[in-house]
Subunit: 315 residues, 2 copies
């Protein structure tokens, strides 16, 4: 398939670099300041070399990229809250042109799910967004395969940065500030880690899960969210005395909640480091656990490209 | 869809009982001694009441069931080795009549995969067999979603009976014979547990995985298999001193191997009780773990019915 890739962060870059390996071709590629379009196939390596030297993949515009010839739009620009712009506008443009859309950007799926599905109903294109929840873990395709009506609840550890910080605080007895600085040095936490440590990122993923399970109707406003910023190291020490530890757990059942929770130290939810885990309660199949890499360029790109492969090529 | 269900053990029975809940209808149902056929829909409850009283679901034959009107055959008769008969014959009859086939019976998929795919190529019907590996865990659909070419190796704990025995031996310091008798009392182990404790059941599942990953070519003869029958309790005690335990692990990479392996006591592979776990190594997504209920009537039936829902209804 011909792909238009919007966003040249870790995920967009990996999608563009790996597309060929999965049997696809990039015909348009945009970053935040420019774009490159080539119906015969963008030279991805050269485009990123240009970006590294001159600051952008090319001199064309995002609008040029959206007007290019492609079968599926990969929306991998940064997640925004509120009305989820400009990501939502990109998705709208693609669906109105009867193209498929694969999202790594959580904004449109968490904040405007109903609008997204309404646009999809009017389009020949399909919308998929596996990469928005759990990185390389096939969370949404598992729900799709089993049927949303057979999944009664989901909980999980859905933010690798927060989990890294909690794992290190518990293992080393270090303070939140100390471990966060360490995580930033290691590249595990971003310079501005607000979305991760305040629980917003995990909450967006839970809102997406709620939308998929209930057929829409949820935004971040419906979630009860607490982060790990004010968690004292002493709380982790106290938990350890009782054979437990603390994880930032998201829960989707009647409502959507994210917050620090006590979990058994060697229990299923106590994944360590940047790993993620998702736990499904199913109607007939009992409890199902999926764990793996919840973030990272190639990992998340593997989910994007699995989505691309699942699209109807005959659109 | 209209289903012909062959086999009235725990899985076949659950499939027949739950079919309606998943939007399907049973038009034929067979056990080892008889069958019942009704184009308007078999009264499943009554059929099982007859079986409980008179020994069979009905006075028709398996041939009658195979000649009935149905869209998908659910093959849930007991797994046999060698040429995988009579299961393979049932599958052949259905595919030659251009019907879909969903298997819970491991025999045809492990022992005659190439024949099975050859029949499928000549048929309008599709073949699916999620329930043959890992019960309620979506093992094969995860491979399907990510692409077999992106899964480089699989290992896992794929037999709940053996895992229950090992878990109890380790936790209580009891002998193999003692724990096995206990498992039989609890209904966790069958009267003849040979397939489970000798590793045959886990090996069949690994052979199926190898066939899916490599596109065929494997049977049980290609697997190196050791069981847990001769494992002394002292081996588990020795492992525990080193922070480890023993699990019956199946591995699929270059070859297919099943045997007792040392694993970290609190590690991912050390699931307890009857739970199963499957660990994938993927090309771009890193390591992925799936755990859940690997056996049980309703659990395995949920995988069968997910397969039925994934079939093309327009066949």
């Amino acid at each position: 398939m011909r792909l238009a890739v919007l966003g040249a962060g870790a995920v967009g870059r990996s999608v563009a670099e790996l597309a060929h390996e999965y049997g696809h071709e990039v015909t348009a590629l945009a970053d935040s300041t420019g774009a490159v379009v080539d119906p015969a196939g963008v030279d991805v390596e050269r485009a990123f070399a240009r970006k590294d030297e001159a600051g952008s993949v090319g001199s064309a515009s995002v609008e040029d990229a959206l007007a290019a010839e492609y079968d599926a739009l990969v929306e991998a620009t940064p997640t925004t809250l509120g009305d989820a712009q400009p990501g939502f506008g990109h998705v709208r443009a693609a669906l109105e042109a009867d193209r498929h859309v694969v999202l790594a950007n959580k904004g449109p799926v968490a904040q405007r799910y109903d609008d997204l599905r309404a646009l999809e109903r009017e389009s020949e294109g399909q919308v998929r967004f596996e990469a928005t929840v759990g990185g390389a873990i096939p969370v949404l395709s598992t729900i799709e395969g089993r049927g949303a009506e057979n999944v009664t609840a989901v909980r999980g550890v859905l933010n690798g940065t927060a989990n890294f910080v909690l794992s290190r605080m518990a293992a080393e007895g270090l303070s939140y500030e100390h471990v966060l600085a360490e995580a930033q040095d290691l590249g595990v936490a971003e310079a501005d880690p607000t979305f991760d440590v305040d629980g917003t990122d995990a909450a967006l993923k839970c809102v997406i899960l709620a939308n998929v399970l209930k057929g829409g109707g949820h935004t971040l406003d419906d979630a009860t969210v607490a982060g790990i910023r004010d968690l004292p190291t002493s709380a982790l020490a106290l938990a350890a005395e009782d054979g437990r530890t603390i994880r930032l757990v998201g829960e989707v059942d009647g409502g959507v909640r994210v917050g620090p929770r006590l979990v058994p130290e060697h229990g299923t939810l106590a994944v360590s480091g940047t790993r993620n885990i998702v736990q499904f309660e199913t109607r007939r199949g009992g409890r199902l656990n999926l764990s793996g890499r919840g973030a990272g360029g190639p990992e998340t790109a593997s989910a994007v490209l699995a989505d691309v492969n699942a699209l109807d090529p005959q659109r």
